[in-house]
Amino acid sequence: MAVSEPVALVPLEVTAAFMEDESAALLRCASRWGWAIEIDVDDLVIKFRMSHPADGTPLVLDADLTSYRAIPPAWRFVDDSGSSTPDSFPAPGEKSIFHSNLVICAPWNRLAYKELGGPHDGDWVGPTNWLNITNVTRAVTLPDMAAIVRAHLHASPGMMA
């Protein structure tokens, strides 16, 4: 099934309930890590702000949770205008999920799937199969996803550009 209209997969109030359920852990994690966080349940968006550990560059990591958990969130590093650019995206370290095409390449990021413009065509079946992928980076909750991004950020040598 192609997922070109993810908004149709899960009612907004269901996704909002999932967000609220995970919000306390997200807030605690952000506090532990020294990240700022905004959780917008009405728009189904989470936004983190942090500094790159290697060079202090300010970073914005956002997640569009439309249709979560039928499909994974859309995680992106973005600039002030909301665009993913080389200036807003961390360079990959060893075995990184930070892809050279400016995508966080993980089964828990729906932007990694070809249906939504990513590089993965068929090997993960599709974004509705995300909870069943176990042979690569794995996370099934929002705080665990953010924790993995943090780990890869720590291994990143700097920014893409």
Binding site: A25, R28, R32, C105, T137, R138, D144, A146, H154
Partner: protein, 84 residues
């Protein structure tokens, strides 16, 4: 006299308030310890490791003591399955 042990506090991002104490031999591999801790927190199969207080991911193949883990440290679980 047996192998020395080390006691650490483990935090799981999905439930950071539910910290748990674990005691392992200092020679235990980071990966083996992380698998045990992850299972205790209810994580499904994956490739768990720990992040230390500096934000560094510990090498799963190293013994805890060689990875710099000390008694009383607080470690955070993280999945380190490969990027793609």
């Amino acid at each position: 006299m047996g192998t020395p042990t080390i006691t650490v506090i483990v935090v799981a991002p999905r439930d950071p308030d539910d910290t748990r104490s674990f005691t392992w031999q200092t020679t235990a591999k980071v990966g083996d310890a992380a698998v045990e801790a992850a299972a205790a927190f209810g994580y499904e199969p994956g490739t768990p490791s720990f992040v230390n207080s500096e934000g560094e991911v510990l090498d799963r193949n190293k013994p805890l003591v060689a990875a710099g883990v000390e008694d009383g440290d607080e470690l955070e679980l993280v999945d380190v399955g490969g990027g793609v």
